[in-house]
Amino acid sequence: MKNRREFLKDAASSALILGSSAAASKLGFGAALRGNAASAGPKVVVARDPSIESAQLEEAGVLELLDRAMAAYTGRDRPIEAWKHIVPSGAVVGLKVNGLGGRGISTHAVLVKAVAERLQQAGIAAANIVVWDRNARDLEACGMTINTGSSGLRCFGSDLAGFEDEPVSCGAASVRLSKILTRTCSFVISLPILKDHSFAGVTFTMKNMYGVVDRPDALHGNNCNPGVADLNAVPVIRGKVRFTIGDALSSVYQGGPGFHPEHLWRPSALIVGEDRVAIDTVAWRMLERKRAEAGLPTLEADGRAPLYIATAADSAHKLGIGDPTLIHRMEI
């Protein structure tokens, strides 16, 4: 006879595997997510600050939120110590943003600059920090300024750096990896922005990797499943992309991945952690809750549950933990 905890764990796991968010909701899935702070599984910090809920994000407010998130994640109150705990000294750090959605719904420049500031204070030279995405247009959509020089914070796209000649296999597809990933950076922080996705269901940290290949369109089949998981399992991505500062300062809960201001939502949150599967699981639940509030169907009912998350957690990919009862989610 299973006790309530075991029952919930099994039920929630099954719901995730099956992509059955409706079933999960009926079984108190949300409560399970909120009530597992003592879990020994991967930690995901969700840091919120409703006071920064505005179109014009204040630098100081975002920096403070970032510091709180990093302190909670690392257990180190001093921001510099927190960052030193995460990023190895001497690293060339890539900040992979997501500017695809255009100016209205891209990784916020104020967050990127806050991360870059703390990295520099932790001893990473500005010239060893590269803000990057697919191309200059996407970076400018984030509010970044292109800098291809050798001094200062560098910022340029894969369109400029180019892609490796040799393709890598992602399931049935072959794609070429950005040289910024393969050659320039030794450590990559993913800075995705949380969005609904008309095909994948949710786009966050794992889907952000579609911006590091030359032909992301080749990976969109079957609602990006297993495309997202296969891509993240490519050794250089698995090995170098080791931390996520997820931008949920604003989001679109319907109509994504493009900018739909009628579905704009401001969670005023950062989602931080190392386990990419756990992070996407937490982000998915946030999006589902907002959709439910707005009277929209679940992503599963809409025919686009992000099944790639469960695939990423399976024994063939082993990219992280997708069982919400095993995720140590910290809400601060």
Partner: protein
């Protein structure tokens, strides 16, 4: 030099719409993008960018799939500015049939929007307007919400509709 570059870009847009419109339509549409001043207080910024269906992912990534499934032929996009305080982007999708344009419009989720008298069907929100005219689907999105944003968007939409 810049003028010459713009002229070339405008010619490309005209050619794309002429080719798209020529396949079954007697009157090929003009360039649907109103030039600066054609609609009061609206300024067209920069060149129009055009994407064929096979390249649409370069513009909208995963969103391209639903357009391809609905029969998109090409998409054209341009930036605009209203009275120096509202920036906007205009997308004009040329579909292979009116049904395809309707499919996208219906899928966009228009429950909370107001019906707009534009083309055969349209919907307006405070910061966006979407409408269909024949096989053309037009979407206008503003990046700032000012008191005059909704009316300004409708005026620009009407200016585009008249050119389709």
């Amino acid at each position: 030099m810049r003028l010459r570059k713009s002229s070339i870009a405008a010619s490309v847009v005209l050619l794309v719409f002429a080719v798209a419109g020529g396949a079954g339509c007697r009157n090929a549409p003009h360039d649907p993008f109103p030039p600066t001043g054609a609609v009061a207080d609206w300024q067209k910024n920069g060149d129009t960018r055009v994407y064929a269906a096979k390249d649409l992912w370069q513009y909208i990534d995963g969103d391209a799939e639903q357009y391809i499934q609905a029969g998109v032929i090409s998409a054209a996009t341009s930036d605009y500015m209203y009275a120096n305080h509202v920036e906007a982007i205009v997308d004009v999708y040329t579909m292979n049939s009116p049904a395809g344009a309707h499919t996208i419009l219906a899928r966009d989720g228009s429950r909370a929007g107001k019906a707009a008298r534009l083309g055969e069907e349209g919907v307006a929100f405070e910061q966006s307007v979407t409408f269909r005219k024949g096989r053309y689907l037009v979407r206008i999105v503003a990046y700032q919400l000012a008191p005059d944003t909704p009316q300004a968007l409708l005026a620009l939409a009407a200016g585009i509709e008249a050119r389709l």
